[in-house]
Symmetry: C2
Subunit: 332 residues, 2 copies
């Protein structure tokens, strides 16, 4: 029987997450019962939403409790199955959390075809982050050809897809990222029209230059001062897709948004989203994103850490913006 | 030739508006040219949006300039006409501003039938404030029967209509107003289910008690801490109609909204509005509101000051929440 290793929650972080908020525990991998499937996880996805699970505050889903395995989506291979739809060797994505083996009811697994794209992509541009970009931009942002779309965290898993979808929709795509290297990647590799380095310290001036006609759609992943800056640049009847507010997640005091008035003056529509709301339309997004990847119209970069041990460190780096591309942990 | 008296802008206010920001000037009333109509104004409407016109900041329409007659809507009687559609004695609403006589192109006037309701109502519950309530609630708030609708400035011209329309739509209507007298009026006269006195100092606790299931629709007229409090009480997929932010209008530093995170967590839709956006649907609103007034289902209270001299004082009082009902100046 294989040995499982799992990160459990040891304590709730206050402010920034620390490695000792987690505890690595070992136990034999479980055996599947009737209807269950045992998955050997090959990839673990690290995502900003995880910060929200490490809190006793109300959020859109229940948080992790002390002693529980930390939440997360994985991609892996079926090693044992007592469910008629799954056989050993099948590739799947699973809600296993931060562990090497997950035992799940078959209904919680998604079979994926890893013959044409790498398995890990189903945790990224063709997975939850890609679908988030797809539905948020299309249904809330509603970009029209010729409009300007700005996205923060533009080199990240969601942001990189948002900008490329905006280009496909005939828009001007402008990113915001931290550092010259990420900005160069966003423009040269991902094909955005421009990317502003927020670390350069002139966000308003630089964005105004990159968006001479103002901003029609802002896809918000970070919050804080960036949000206030964009509120100053939004055009009449602009849309703001509130997908994430990562700058707030580790703050002990929330940032006070000063330019709320822009919502009134410019008649903006500001809407919060979470991808679960489009569950019944996942196949539409999956097919569209897969086609774009295969056609070479959706570029994608991964940031890979090796081994389950590195998961807490990976999340901390992600929350600080240290990753460059979709953050993954290679488990095997 | 009658003598006109007009309030012009003398200086831009910083923070609170003061009487000496305005200057009262006299001149002979103009004679209408071809296509024009001379209106003797009987009523002047004072409205919170006027604070926005007294600023060099960008807003949804151009501000008033120094020396210009202060903006405002009036109701009055045609005294001379060189326009085929208007005859002396006709009752109209007009964009005359703060003055006794206005000379306008006929296309800028709206003929109103003051035979069944008082003329002044066309500046209030059947006028711009009523239409603002109607379209904001119906098109953005989209209340469903059984939902809870909260409106701030509930005894005011817009708020009082919002709550009564919410009741007509089968909702629980909860107001926020300043002082026990206004709150009693909102419940006893206007028929809201509850009204919370923000001056009592327990807004969160009192609102939570008045809205045990949370808030589905918040119609925002005030902003500031009230907005933050409501963001804490909004339900999943709630809607916030951003119609006004009066608490910010006189602030030299804008309030920092701390609970923006609620937009994400609860997937709220927050949308700014101005009634001009529904121009082509004004007849629909006018007819619906008139019917409700005549049927006794839309109650309405006016706060009347006498004489053109009192206009600056009236606006200052309105911005401080001293009015009780729709603020008007009786000009003749």
């Amino acid at each position: 029987m294989p040995q499982n290793r799992a990160w459990t929650l040891a304590s709730f972080p206050t402010g920034w997450v620390k490695e000792d908020n987690f505890k690595l525990v070992e136990s034999p991998a479980p055996q599947p019962k009737d209807g269950e499937v045992l998955v050997k996880n090959l990839w673990l996805s690290l995502d900003p939403y995880m910060r929200g699970r490490l809190s006793q505050q109300k959020s859109y889903v229940k948080g992790v409790e002390i002693g529980e395995v930390m939440t997360g989506e994985t991609a892996g291979e079926v090693v044992a199955s007592k469910h008629p739809k799954f056989r050993p060797g099948d590739t799947v994505t699973a809600p296993s959390g931060w562990q090497l083996y997950g035992c799940h009811e078959g209904g919680l697994l998604t079979q994926v075809d890893a013959s044409r794209v790498p398995l890990s992509y189903f945790l990224g541009c063709i997975g939850m982050p890609g679908r988030t970009a797809y539905f948020g931009l299309k249904d809330i942002g509603q970009p029209k050809p010729g409009e300007t779309v700005v996205v923060s965290a533009a080199s990240g898993a969601v942001g990189s897809v948002v900008g490329q979808l905006a280009k496909s929709a005939g828009c001007r795509a402008v990113g915001i990222a931290g550092g010259a290297q990420k900005c160069a990647h966003v423009v040269n590799e991902l094909g955005f029209d421009a990317c502003v380095d927020y670390k350069a310290g002139n966000l308003y001036r630089d964005l105004k230059e990159a968006c001479p006609d103002g901003v029609d759609v802002y896809f918000e992943n970070v919050g804080g001062e960036t949000l206030d800056t964009l509120l100053r640049l939004m055009r009449f009847r602009g849309r703001i897709v509130v997908c994430g507010l990562i700058s707030d997640y580790n703050a002990t005091e929330p940032y006070g948004v000063k330019m709320f008035r822009s919502i009134l003056v410019n008649r903006l529509k500001v809407q919060g989203m979470i991808v679960f709301d489009w569950l019944e339309r996942y196949p539409e997004a999956n097919a569209a994103l897969l086609d774009l990847v295969i056609a070479g119209k959706l570029k994608y970069r991964e940031s890979v850490l090796e081994g389950i041990e590195s998961a807490p460190r990976g999340l901390i780096g992600l929350l600080k913006g240290e990753n460059f591309g979709k953050q993954l942990v290679k488990l095997a």
